[in-house]
Homo-oligomer: 594 residues x 2
């Protein structure tokens, strides 16, 4: 069997209980001699006899001493947790035995079972490169140099392949799976991870936050805020869930879908309560592809003018997904909304189930006219790209308000209130508003500006990346990026320049997964309902006699709004709404001219 290729030495040792203990004794000294620090780690583990499952497997591949780390994988959550804590400077070895009921059925595979923790320690060539795919663990270190897509493969190191393969559909071929199979070294034990979470410090409100994809660039761990590498962003029209930017204000709440209730208040009939089942069965399932963008996307560029308050987002606090759920309009109508309500009410407030230590929940509101418009496409979404919403994205139900700043797309939605007033939340009243460049923290009056709803026209260059090089011999540079506008305004043109704006090149636009605009089978969105971004690409001749290239882009939407030229005049103390022309500087590598 091909997948046994790596298991010819000591490898592929499937042993039970005491048998494994004996093996560990036998191999430990030799391993310690060649595995360096990993051997030490292994020894500490080896001292423990706390084997929860009693049925785990160990694997050993003599060609990669680091694989020893996997040798004792499966000794259970307690050990792994102790290790994790010792890595973060806490030497406490934890305790709580898992209850029998939480132990999953034994894997029938003869390969060792690894925790995600084990896997994620293998994410470079020194430690080896492990990945997971559909529950299997693969050591692909040897394959790195053979990967047709180059070292982009390293972005998956230590994590799951699925989001990358979703991004690069070329992998959906049988021979790719055959190649992968050759590198299988074990099975992933997700249950261990669950147990680790249970025994982790209960005082940390973030302890139950879900696992995240290792490729994400973390701006804040608690609450979790992270963006994907920009180059990945534009390799796929639809952003895979795992790579979709994460913007949490509070810990991710644990919501039981069986007991979940959505409360609706403020309508003449009185309160209404809907279960997840109600939302899925009583209303038509409506699907919308919509781009969400954080108000703080590209904030780092404002920081380069003058320091602002807020997470230092790059250009990737924006992503695109296909969302499905009940239309808010349909739900409100069923709950008793009539046009007469609009004579008084002006807003629809959303309240999340995520809460801070005082019990205050996240909240925001949108204009009623947006909520009830038959063209507004506001969803109470329960699916993201065809799957249940991931925990980070609002499981089980979130608001998706197409064309509107991310902050109003309230996740883990617990309550909807039709109201005369906007949400009283901090995030509606004293955050997510735009101000003049001359307004500072001494003079700011948050009442003087409207809460951000629709966002302005935006675009940014994802390829080439800042600081990289292009070869002179190529004679041209291919520039890629994204463009989007709020309010359902369709992007109609992106201009790219490499000569400081003397000449502008009109980029080609991609408005679906299928390819260039016009070649897709899908008709263009109706006026005012262009909720999804367009990806752009322009191939531009390299200007002569330049050693450095400043590439700039600007987009235009169908209300012919354009991006401002520069950052300073739109600078604001919260660093939101950063949508000046995007600029990337790259070197021109002259070597290849010789």
């Amino acid at each position: 069997m091909q997948h046994l290729r790596h298991c010819q030495g000591l490898a592929r040792v499937g042993l039970l209980g005491t048998q494994r203990a004996q093996l560990l004794k036998d191999v430990a000294p030799a391993v310690a001699a060649c595995a360096g620090p990993l051997a030490g780690r292994w020894q500490r583990r080896g001292n423990s006899s706390n084997d929860q499952s009693g049925q785990a497997h160990s694997g050993f591949n003599p060609r990669w001493p680091h694989l020893l780390a996997g040798l004792v994988a499966g000794t259970g959550a307690v050990l792994a947790y102790g290790l994790r804590n010792s890595q973060s400077g806490q030497e406490r070895i934890a305790i709580e035995p898992a209850s029998q009921s939480s132990i999953e059925p034994v894997s029938q595979s003869s390969l060792p079972v690894y925790t995600q923790e084990e896997v994620s320690r293998h994410k470079n060539l020194d430690d080896g490169v492990w990945v997971t795919y559909k529950g299997g663990v693969y050591d692909i270190t040897e394959f790195i140099n053979m990967h047709p897509g180059g070292d982009k493969i390293l972005l998956a190191a230590g994590g799951a392949l699925e989001p990358f393969w979703a991004l690069y559909a070329v992998h959906s071929q049988e021979h790719v799976l055959e190649i992968l199979a050759e590198y299988k070294v074990g099975e992933l034990n997700p249950e261990d991870r669950k147990r680790q979470q249970k025994v982790s410090d209960a005082s940390d409100p973030y302890s139950t936050d879900p696992e995240r994809h290792p490729a994400l660039r973390i701006n804040s761990a608690k609450p979790f805020n992270a963006e994907p590498p920009p180059q990945l962003l534009t390799d796929s029209y639809i952003t895979p869930n795992a790579l979709f930017f994460k913007r949490n204000h509070l810990p991710v709440p644990q919501v039981d879908p069986k007991t979940y209730k959505l409360e609706i208040e403020g309508l003449p009939k009185g309160s209404v309560s809907l279960s997840l089942h109600d939302l899925k069965t009583r209303f038509p399932k409506h699907t919308v592809t919509a781009t969400l963008q954080c108000a703080g996307n590209r904030r780092s560029e404002m920081n380069s003018v003058k320091q602002v308050k807020g997470l230092n987002w790059g250009i990737a606090a924006i992503s695109n997904a296909t969302w499905s759920g009940a239309r808010l309009r349909d739900v409100l109508l069923a709950a008793g909304y009539t046009p007469e309500v609009a004579a008084k009410a002006r807003h629809v407030q959303f309240e999340g189930l995520d809460r801070d230590v005082t019990g205050t929940t996240y909240g925001a509101s949108i204009p009623l006219v947006k909520a009830v418009s038959e063209f507004g496409d506001v969803l109470l979404a329960y699916e993201m790209n065809g799957e249940d919403l991931p925990p980070d994205h609002g499981y089980p139900v979130r608001a998706v308000v197409p064309g509107t700043v991310g902050a109003r797309n309230v996740k883990w939605l617990g309550k909807i209130v039709v109201s005369e007033e906007e949400s009283k939340s901090h995030w509606q009243q004293n955050d997510y508003k735009g101000f003049s460049p001359s307004t500072d923290w001494d003079t700011v009056d948050f009442k003087s500006a409207p809460a951000i709803q629709e966002l302005p026209i935006q675009s940014a260059i994802t390829t080439p990346a800042e600081g990289t090089s292009v070869d002179r011999s190529m004679e041209e540079v291919t520039v890629k990026g994204y463009a989007w506008s709020g309010g359902g305004r369709e992007v109609v043109r992106v201009d790219v320049t490499v000569d400081g704006g003397k000449t502008w090149h009109i980029a080609q636009l991609q408005d679906s997964e299928k390819g260039q605009e016009g070649t897709a089978q899908t008709p263009p969105p109706p006026t005012g309902q262009a909720w999804a971004w367009k990806l752009f690409e322009a191939t531009v001749p390299l200007p002569p006699e330049h050693q450095e290239l400043e590439i700039m882009c600007k987009a235009v939407d169908n209300s012919y709004n354009t991006q401002p030229d520069t950052v300073a005049p739109i600078w604001n103390l919260r660093g939101v709404l950063s949508n000046a022309w995007h600029r990337v500087t790259v070197k021109i590598n002259e070597d290849s001219e010789e």
Copy 2:
């Protein structure tokens, strides 16, 4: 009587027929000696004996020899027409006797009767300054220096006071009328003007165009395109009809309101025809205050980058009025529109009754979703600022499409077609579209860009005017202007700078006739229905050590779109969508510091 004050010498001579002829002989030599060219003009007139009415009056004020021009006023349309043509280099003396039926009842006033032609020759201090008011003719030359509003009064010279007094409500006081009465020198004979029009060259399709206000700055006479002086624009939240910018593509059609029919096609029920009476009585009268802006507003700034094709508009091809009429939505519903229609149709085409020599009518279309939206406020308007639509603005019925470029607000509306397709007209297909700065007439593909509908955020400075001076001793400068955005997006802030953008001053906004924002009694417009501009004003300290001041403004709307910094990157071959920061340079006058 006070109004006789100016009539004490030879003045106030009211004579009939042959009596006047004798007077002319008597005074002519003396007048010729002191009146220069006017005397010659008078002599040519004096040679004619063609006196149509036989009942006109002459007036003479010895203090202003130029008044001789008025001495023979009232000799009828033929003479006046002959004079007009000789002024434009055509010496033809015309002919056609007016029919008895067109002769109006004789004025019972004892003052002379003047043609508008006579009046309009008096529009500077050299020739004297005449104005008309409610049918009276006033020589206000002596009053100019006493006018509390300064020499702005000269903008009314040679024309009617009414639009200016509508603009400056301070004149609505009895004592103002008393002052005016002192300067009365005659009566206006509007019938003469009508007769002049009848005898004018019948081959000129513009011969029946209406009279226009003399203060308008004409960009094109035929078709008539003109804008008001910018400083006037922001003295009134509502632009008086006579000063509202005029943008005609073709001659103004003569439409008989009694036989007027509006045809509606493309709905399942078949064609529907509505009279003006139907529109006024079968549908609720809906009133909307909406700003209209020509796509070419501020085109002159693009010309200063590189020549474009189009009328050289300044900053005042924008105005604000209150429109009343039937809602297009109501009319379409009554004509058989149902939501099912929207499954196929996407556009509503408008066809004007104005046509070129080939019979081609003006046409444009708007998205169906805008036309039928209960929040779209699209009107079939028959009133402008409480009056019947003026001929230049579409009498008897026009489309008013709030938030949408002027070109889609079709005037003299003859037909509406609900359609799968946009209007096939030149103006929809091959004009009024935006392109990249690098697109030229050799490369332009009009199919590649969407027809302009909603316009982007806009603002401009009306005061101080370019090239004027401010006094150093004032220590500050008051900057006024307008700001507006398309698509019902509300202007939320205007920033003004006088130091090149180092510091920005937040202007105060006026969102109604009543005054500053917040002080008005009217509630703010609902989200997405902010159709009217805001006027702004900022008082900014003069920076030291500058002899020249560049004042710049930029506006922000509630989708937080902003204006681009500079013109060149938005330059386009048609010179439309010119909305970069507006810049005005003024001198700082240091004299008053001494």
